[in-house]
Symmetry: C2
Subunit: 385 residues, 2 copies
């Protein structure tokens, strides 16, 4: 299953579509640090570490790329410090591609006292209260100091519901920031800077954003500002609305999404890349994702169940440890609980993506998706009698 991962680096960022199946695409991004098989799930490595995992494990599970959070890394350990230490790849021991967000989303959601102007955003660190300023240029500078392979434009992501006028203002500001980020990024053949489509739940604004960004001829495009609490059908509607205005020959990245079902549905609508804290965060809270659906290991039904989460999995965490043991570890608050369940969850997400990619290649995604959803709907194994 990994045979198509290793490509001779061309020295250039290059996206190849390998197959199409309905709106879904199977592809590959080649970059100097490695290839990314799409549709791809990118595990979130917030602060230079995928929580409760060794990065060797993350790689072994099939991850071609991980995500780093610019906001967290600029505050601790600091972008200049990471640069002095050889960049994020050396620092965290991940020699493969890394995508960084712009920092904007977490400035909005985590920091205190923030103020947005045309120039950028001033905010207070949630770590130590220090004041910081981030402009589109500074965001790109920081992502460059981290030596990020795929960098994201600074954007303004507003909470929904919101007035059309306010959504439009933030979308237009994000567009102007995209131009400034493009200029700041300049010409870096082996790396990419992606634009981010905004426009909330407003179809007209979304299309306007997508078309204006397409005109900037960027190497990839993200859909931002979704999965922020709206129902899944609203998210899917917005994806369907915006995809026709997105260049067909560029990777499409749906930011911060999502559940396995969100991912499957979004791939079927033409999305190529995903990231989400869900598998890692849920793993630290006793929740396991499996082909039987989501399993809450805190539940007393598992207390004497000697069966593994999934005996057919090739992930040791899913296959070799009993539910009774996992239940005990979760109840006792043991570090190994988060280690095993995060491992299981990231394995499941990568298995999901591998299955999706294989199905697209063989033009049977619809049938595959129905089987996968039926297994989720059937739910977990019946209790041990």
């Amino acid at each position: 299953m990994n045979l198509d991962r290793e490509q001779t680096p061309s020295g250039q960022f290059f996206f190849t579509k390998l197959a199409e199946d309905g709106a879904a695409r199977r592809g590959r991004i080649d970059m100097p640090r490695g290839s990314i098989r799409t549709p791809a799930f990118m595990p979130v490595g917030t602060a230079g570490t995928v929580k409760a995992m060794y990065l060797d494990q993350v790689r072994d599970l099939g991850a071609d790329i991980i995500l780093g959070n610019t906001y967290h890394l600029m505050l601790r350990p600091g972008a200049e410090r990471v640069a002095r230490l050889g960049g994020l790849h050396d620092f965290a021991r991940w020699p493969y591609p890394i995508l960084t967000d712009s920092g904007g989303f977490q400035v909005m959601s985590l920091s205190g006292l923030r103020k947005i102007t045309e120039e950028g955003v001033t905010f207070q660190s949630h770590v130590d209260g220090t004041k910081h300023f981030m402009s589109p240029e500074r965001s790109i500078e920081i992502q460059g100091l981290l030596d990020s392979d795929i960098q994201m434009q600074l954007d303004e992501c507003i909470a929904l519901p919101a007035e059309e006028k306010e959504i439009g203002r933030a979308m237009e500001l994000s567009l102007r920031w995209a131009e400034r980020c493009k200029a700041a990024f300049g010409d870096q053949p082996g790396k990419a800077m992606f634009g981010i489509i905004q426009g909330g739940d407003n179809a007209r604004l979304r299309i306007e954003s997508a078309e204006a960004l397409a005109a900037l001829d960027l190497k990839g495009y993200a859909i931002g500002g979704l999965a922020v609490g709206e129902p899944q059908n609203v998210m899917f509607d917005m994806i369907e609305t915006v995809i026709p205005s997105m260049p067909k020959d560029r990777p499409r990245y749906l930011m911060g999404v999502g559940t396995p079902d969100d991912i499957l549905g979004s791939v079927q609508r033409g999305v190529d890349m995903f990231d989400c804290v869900m598998p890692t965060r849920a793993g630290r809270h006793g929740l396991a994702f499996t082909r039987h659906g989501k399993i809450n290991l805190k539940n007393a039904r598992h207390a004497e169940d000697d069966r593994p989460l999934d005996e057919e999995s090739d992930c040791a965490a899913a296959r070799d440890y009993s539910r009774a043991y996992l239940h005990h570890l979760v109840r006792a608050g043991e570090p190994l609980a988060g280690m095993l369940l995060t491992w299981n969850n990231l394995a499941y997400y990568q298995q999901l993506m591998a299955g999706i990619r294989a199905a697209i290649s063989e033009a049977r995604l619809q049938e595959h998706a129905e089987k996968v959803r039926a297994a989720w709907a059937k739910g977990d194994l019946p209790p041990r009698s």
Copy 2:
């Protein structure tokens, strides 16, 4: 270095002395579940897990045996439950020898409202406040339900300083409990029940306890009630006092000890087995044990130090990750900090034991100990200039 680990199980608990060097002994305990090379360090797996480690890693580092805490396991998940699930080895996926303490020490140190009588101890769970009663017989029963390979007698370990009369009373009660534990344990050729020498810091009582226990002809003997806050020289004095009264042909286990220096000094005085939470607990608090001594990764001096903890170590945690990265993980409270530092610390403890065993075999322990202590005293590498 592991060549002497795997022995054909004889079906019997058997201790073989392989070499002596001064008071120090190099030996091997053979049991149906595997052999234990002594002097041995037993990582503490309190609740059926060595915190922040996969047990596969613990084994790969060279651990022949781990310790489980009866107190914790009886309260959660419960001894009967573990028995229904096939015993602690299956439950935790550790098919090698396990030693369990009696539960007594933690009843005294962790539980609420406890009351000791001749019959046993009544106490309240620190987990959920439920009331429990533990007698010598119940302790052995629980350890049997866990399927523990080396079981410890229930004893009363009192805090020092204490009146001689009080120390004597607790020591004599512990002796009577040893007899009851021996009777409850019965004849189990492949397992062992160890007695525990008590007597505080009182030489006469210690010797009396050791001699009375020796008369019980147990398979092994522990020195309990030390490393409870007294200076190292007091502990060493008590070891020297009591060792001549301990059978030469039985393993000697110093409970809850200790720092690398405590272990080295105790081996030189004739101790064969150790357990301590220090390497695991310290690892979760940003402290690394190395051949350069103890290193506090929280310290700002490491913030931009791209050197590993110990480039000569064969442990990846010590060799492959920069101090700067470890410092960052510790400061950010990342799970990987505890995972890597615990890994490093258990690796160092096992390397220490392997070095000690090799030195005894070659009758150069004194010289080896001086070199090891000189490296600790020299301290950590000078700061990166």
